[in-house]
Structures are given as C-alpha cells and as structure tokens.
C-alpha cells in the first residue's frame, strides 16, 4: 500500500530524465523492439504534427487525497504543486480565444485546489461546449466541505469523469488504496441522486477504467456492459459511458512495472498491439495540456515527463494558437500506450 509519492520518497524515477533514459534503453536500444519514431516513419507520420486544437486540459495541481499505485502524475497528499488564481486567470483568458470546444480539468484531485470553485464559476461564464472535471470520487466523501460537490457540479452543468478500475472491491482497493471502493460507491450514489449518470440525463457521468496491473485494457464496449450490469445489480448505480485507458509506462506505473519484473513484457504487449489507425487520432493532435505553473505540453503524460511543447511558445502567458499549431509533437516510447489496440486517450479509445 503506497502512502507517499515517488518524489517524497526521493525515488530515482521522480527524476523525469531518468524515466526518459529508461524508455530509450534496453529492448529499444538493442533494436529488439522498434522505437516509436521508427513506427511513425514507416507510416510516413513522422514528425507528428497537431491538428486543430479541440481540448484544453488544465492540471490545477498534483495534490490528491489518494496515492494510486498506477498514477502517472505521482500525485498524493504530499504534493504541494497547486495552480494559483493568477495562472487560472491566464488560462481563462486563453480559453476565451482558443475556440477549443472542451475544457478538461484534472489533477491530482482538482477539487483540492483552494481556487477550484472560483475557477469553475469563471470558466462556466465563457461557455465551452463540454466542461469536464476529472473527479477521483473519494474526494466527495473525504471531508464535509466537499459533500456538496455533486450539487456544485450540477449547478455548473459539469461533465464528471471518474476513475473506477473494477466493479469489485478487491481490485479497486489494490490499485487505489484501502477503502477507495466503498467511498467511490458512496460518491457515485450521491452523484446519481442529483441526476448524474441517469439514463437520458444531461448531467454526464462517465467512468474511466485503467487496468489494475501489467496488462492492456480489453474491449471498451464489453467492459462498459460488464461494469453497467455489475454496478446496477450490486449497488443500483448508473453511469453513461466507460472510457478504457491504457496505463502508460511512466512515473509510478513504470516504477511498478520495473519492480514487478513486468517492464519488458509490457513494452512487448504495447508494441505488438501497435495500431496505425490509432496514430491518426492520438489525443496530442487535438489537445494541449497546461501544468499547475502554466507551462504547455502536448499531453498530460508529456507534462509528467517534463517534455514541454517544442515551440517558441511554451507558457500560457504568451499563448499563440498559430505558433502552437505549427509545432512538432514530442514523442518517446511511452507513446506506444496511446496507440495500442483500439488506442487510448483521456476520452477512451480513439478508433
């Protein structure tokens, strides 16, 4: 059971350069497996370039009430990186002029940012089509001050996306921590009670499924139907869609893969499942990720690897849509996680 982040434990993988080094060595250095760039070259997709910006994903801080074993953010209660209201204001100014139809708030637990509610209220006024908050569910039940979050989300017509690795307690708690399953079920019940996730309801509640171990997600549709059946019959809980997301070999999941001697086999699985059709729609081609301190990244994963956008514009303060659309997307072997099987993104499969 993890209690501290890699950073707090001063684990060598808290150093992003060390992670990138590992991802380029071993089976990729010997040529046993092709590098991601080589696969793109074969497809004549190298270098990878963005399309129109559709999604602005803002990470409002790495602080979280959970310490999940697979977390690519290395989030936890000991992480103090939190977006200030000043940076939030800069994000609001950018949202107004980007034309992105989706605003996606993530963390950590975004709700733990002291200015979270102010930011949501201000961003709602701008009127994006789809306003997502990635809630870990347990935060809703963690403290009295969060109990009204379902009502707050409803008031602002927030699209709630929450993590749920399995419909059984054992698997969920093993990945996300003791007691997480019970608290998640309670939070889902509270969300259902205000109308979230109910059939025909405009209050969207989607779940995210991450495999709880060194294997790839199965068919998203089949998993969705199993989740729906089990959560309804066991707990009378309803939700809209299930997004299955592949765990990328970075941060705490990379640490787990190495410690459990699964790293090489996992990389083989990802490379063997490489799907050229998924390359067409990888999320870095329509998304920009903003960190708590305002830096810009191709995706949340590149953010956690410290790979800032390869552009003259790297910070929210001098955001320039045209300059950013002309950039080249930073890649490494972790990108295989987004192109395996049916593909993977923060919105689930991509094919």
């Amino acid at each position: 059971m993890l209690l501290k982040s890699l950073k707090k434990r001063e684990n060598e993988l808290a150093n992003t350069k060390r992670q990138l080094e590992l991802l380029s060595k071993g089976v990729f250095e010997t040529g046993e497996l092709p590098k991601f760039s080589a696969q793109l070259e074969t497809l004549k997709q190298f270098p990878l370039k963005p399309k129109t910006l559709e999604i602005l994903q803002i990470n409002v801080g790495y602080m979280c009430n959970q310490v999940c074993a697979h977390c690519h953010v290395d989030a936890g209660p000991d992480r103090k990186e939190i977006m200030t209201r000043e940076t939030m204001q800069q994000c609001l100014d950018v949202i107004k002029k980007t034309g992105a139809h989706t605003l996606d708030l993530t963390g950590g637990a975004p709700e733990m940012n002291p200015d979270f509610r102010w930011f949501v209220e201000e961003a709602t006024k701008i009127g994006v089509k789809d306003f997502i908050v990635r809630s870990n569910l347990t935060i809703i039940t963690a403290n009295k001050k969060y109990y009204d979050l379902p009502e707050f989300f409803k008031k602002h017509q927030i699209h709630v996306i929450s993590s749920m690795p399995h419909w059984t307690k054992g698997k969920t708690d093993k990945q996300r921590g003791d007691g997480v399953f019970k608290a998640s079920i309670k939070a889902l019940t509270m969300l259902n009670a205000v109308g979230y996730g109910m059939p025909g309801s405009g209050l969207k509640l989607d779940l995210v499924y991450n495999p709880s171990g060194a294997f790839l997600p199965g068919d998203q549709g089949a998993l969705e139907s199993d989740f729906k059946k089990a959560l309804l019959s066991d707990f009378n809980i309803q939700f809209h869609q299930l997004f299955s997301i592949t765990n990328l070999p970075i941060s705490r999941f990379l640490d787990y893969l190495i410690a459990s001697d699964n790293y090489e086999d996992y990389m083989y699985s990802l490379v063997e499942a490489f799907n050229p059709a998924a390359v067409e729609n990888v999320m870095c081609t329509n998304t920009l990720s903003v960190s708590w301190d305002g830096w810009l990244y191709d995706c949340d994963f590149n953010q956690m690897l410290g790979l800032k956008v390869n552009s003259s514009v790297q910070h929210i303060t001098n955001f320039n849509k045209e300059a950013l659309e002309n950039r080249i997307i930073c890649i490494s072997q972790h990108c295989y996680g987004c192109t395996a099987g049916a593909g993977s993104s923060c919105q689930g499969t991509v094919t």
Partner: protein, 111 residues
C-alpha cells in the same frame, strides 16, 4: 538454445511456426482467430473455456496467455479459479469413471 523445455518468451514467437509451413500455419491461425470471435458464445465465455482447457492440457504458454486475456476482459480471479475447477473436475471424473470398468472386471473375475 535454452537449457529448459519451456521459455516464457517463446510464446511471443508462436507466430513464427508459419515460417516452416506457411499454408498449414496460416490456416491454423485463421481458424484460431475465428474460434475466439464473438459467436453464440461471448468472447469472454470462450476465454474462460480456453483457460480451463489450458490447465487440462497443462500448457504453460496457454495458461500465461489466457490469464492475461482474462485480466484484460475484467474476468475476476474467482471466475478464473471456478473455470479451472470445472476443467479439473472433468479431468478427474474421466479418471474416476474408468473405475466402473475396474469394478466390472473385479466382479467378473471374483466368485
């Protein structure tokens, strides 16, 4: 060459068997792929059958493959173990049902 008969990484090379007989290897993999598609049985049900049979035929490669396949499909360990017991029950039943022959023979030879 490895000094042991089973090397887990050999599973990755399964597809290479077509190199020595493309026609038969190809037909086998086509058949194999077709068998595990959704049909009257779901792919999930077939995965559990495959896991049970893997144990009965004692194939370590198949056990690795179908344990992983089950995990990917969200199959629980309780379901997996029940499937293995179903296979084991048939296997031990197949042994035990032969004891009727033993009993028959015993009776026939005894006064």
């Amino acid at each position: 060459m490895s000094k042991s008969y089973y090397d887990p990484s050999d599973l990755r090379k399964f597809g290479n068997i077509t190199e020595w007989n493309e026609e038969l290897g190809g037909k086998f993999f086509d058949y194999y792929g077709k068998v595990f598609e959704e049909g009257a049985l779901t792919a999930r049900e077939k995965s559990l059958i495959a896991l049970a049979v893997s144990h009965v035929v004692k194939c370590p490669y198949c056990i690795d493959a179908y344990t992983q396949d089950g995990l990917q499909r969200g199959i629980t360990k309780e379901e997996m173990m029940e499937a293995v017991h179903a296979g084991a029950a048939i296997e031990s039943g197949a042994t035990l049902v032969h004891s009727v022959q033993m009993m028959n023979k015993y009776e026939k030879l005894s006064m």
